[in-house]
Symmetry: C2
Subunit: 275 residues, 2 copies
């Protein structure tokens, strides 16, 4: 008996789907639902509600549940220190936490992992908790790839990789080696809305469907905390942006749920590919 | 007598200001105003109206005016081939033009220069036509730089420089080494609107004023055609985005007009710096 896996649950339905998938895979779960952030559906699982700043309480609950493994799932936004309402367990660690909150997201997340590891917990990635929720390798639906796909994919991946050094950029949209949009703090869906707008105002005039989204984790990003994710909203936004497809890094991008998203993309005329 | 300088005039008031500044500097000008693009104010100068695709006519008019030097000024957007309505002089060069329209903006612009150079014209940059319209080195107003300025400037410039290899990125917004927004096809002003929005929705929560805009030409960009530009709209957008300043590459970013923009920035509480 290794006890349950503790899931620290951020926004959206990802945590619920992951929890369910883990159970279906025969693992016991214990959900730490972040107040004001996590979906109320957490209450269908063994759970406890906690404030983002209640680090001390979180550690006590994890210990009480007998969990040795911990998995972060679901976005958190980027909390301001003032919103954290730290408990004593957090206050004790304020110097570390302040250090963590400087720099890019990735830097902060690595710090959060370290904080839990220092308490003797093993932090695992959701891809080991529920492998069926990450992108597969190769074509995930039946649509043909565009002629320029391989070249554009190489070009776009190289650009994302160059941006990684600056702790930014999990996504971009390009067409024939022209980069139309680069993702920073706005997130993928907002970037895709921008692309739709650039088309509406005639600032990007390639005839739709054309161009595709590439999404991958930043290099050096700690995949145990925040795999980038796509879901039905992303596909709908890509369709609205007039794209011809979506390419994501296999095994390193959450897809909720994989079969459903692949089928939805196909119905929308979008290829869906894992590289 | 070297004859007038031919100015190919794109959008906005930049071409007019540059033409006036060149005249004040004792140079004769001849404006080739692009139909549907250039400001009607071109009619205050010796000029002719031409369609974007009328390359043959442009070359004839330049010759008739006795101009040996040519300067491109003002944005053009990115014309679709269908909008170009080529004349015979352009049709003759279609294979070259098609080659030019592939790849990023920079690639296309270099090709346009070559097209004119092949006709024996010297293509000059606006900074040699009207030096008072480009950013100066150092502080351009009296506001203090933020504490983290030097470090953030180095970080942001390195990021822009890495993006240059992908023919993208003339601007970004960052704060304490966190890159909040990266500019691609949307342009600087739209990027700044996005930053304002990210603040409104709480996705970027650093207390304003904070963060600054860095703007520079892409490395390897041909500065004879398209210096990046900022003006009163950029400053107003930076203010609205809650930034604390604007840093631009000295000598390589058009500022219309420099003293006015510097003063406007100061009044808005924004430092204005040339690196």
């Amino acid at each position: 008996m290794s006890g349950p896996v503790a899931l620290i649950c951020g926004e959206g339905r990802f945590p619920l789907v992951a929890a369910k998938a883990a159970q279906q895979g025969g693992r016991e779960v214990f959900l730490l639902a972040l107040k004001g952030v996590a979906d109320p559906g957490v209450e269908n699982f063994p759970h406890v509600w906690l404030g983002v700043g209640q680090l001390g309480a979180a550690l006590r609950e994890i210990e009480r549940a007998g969990a040795k493994k911990l998995c972060f799932i679901g976005g958190l936004g980027r909390p301001e220190f003032a919103d954290l309402r730290p408990d004593w367990g957090a206050i004790r660690r304020i110097p570390e936490i302040l250090r963590l909150l400087k720099g890019g997201d990735d830097h902060a997340l690595k710090g959060v992992i370290k904080l839990f590891e220092q308490e003797g917990l093993e932090v695992i990635g959701v891809e080991s908790l529920a492998p069926q929720l990450v992108a597969a390798k190769g074509a995930m639906n039946r649509l043909a790839l565009p002629k320029n796909f391989a070249e554009d994919l190489d070009f776009g991946r190289a650009c994302l990789s160059a941006m990684s050094a600056f702790d930014v950029g999990q996504g971009l949209v390009l067409n024939h080696r022209r980069i139309v949009a680069l993702e920073a703090a706005e997130g993928t869906d907002a970037m895709l809305e921008r692309v739709a707008h650039l088309r509406d105002i005639g600032r990007w005039r390639a005839k739709p469907p054309s161009g595709f989204l590439i999404k991958a984790p930043k290099q050096g990003q700690d995949l145990r905390v925040d795999l980038p994710a796509i879901g039905p909203k992303t596909i709908a936004a890509a369709k609205k942006a007039g794209l011809c497809g979506v390419a994501v890094e296999a095994g390193k991008v959450l897809v909720l749920d994989r079969d459903e998203v692949a089928a939805q993309a196909e119905a929308a005329g979008l290829f869906f590919y894992g590289f």
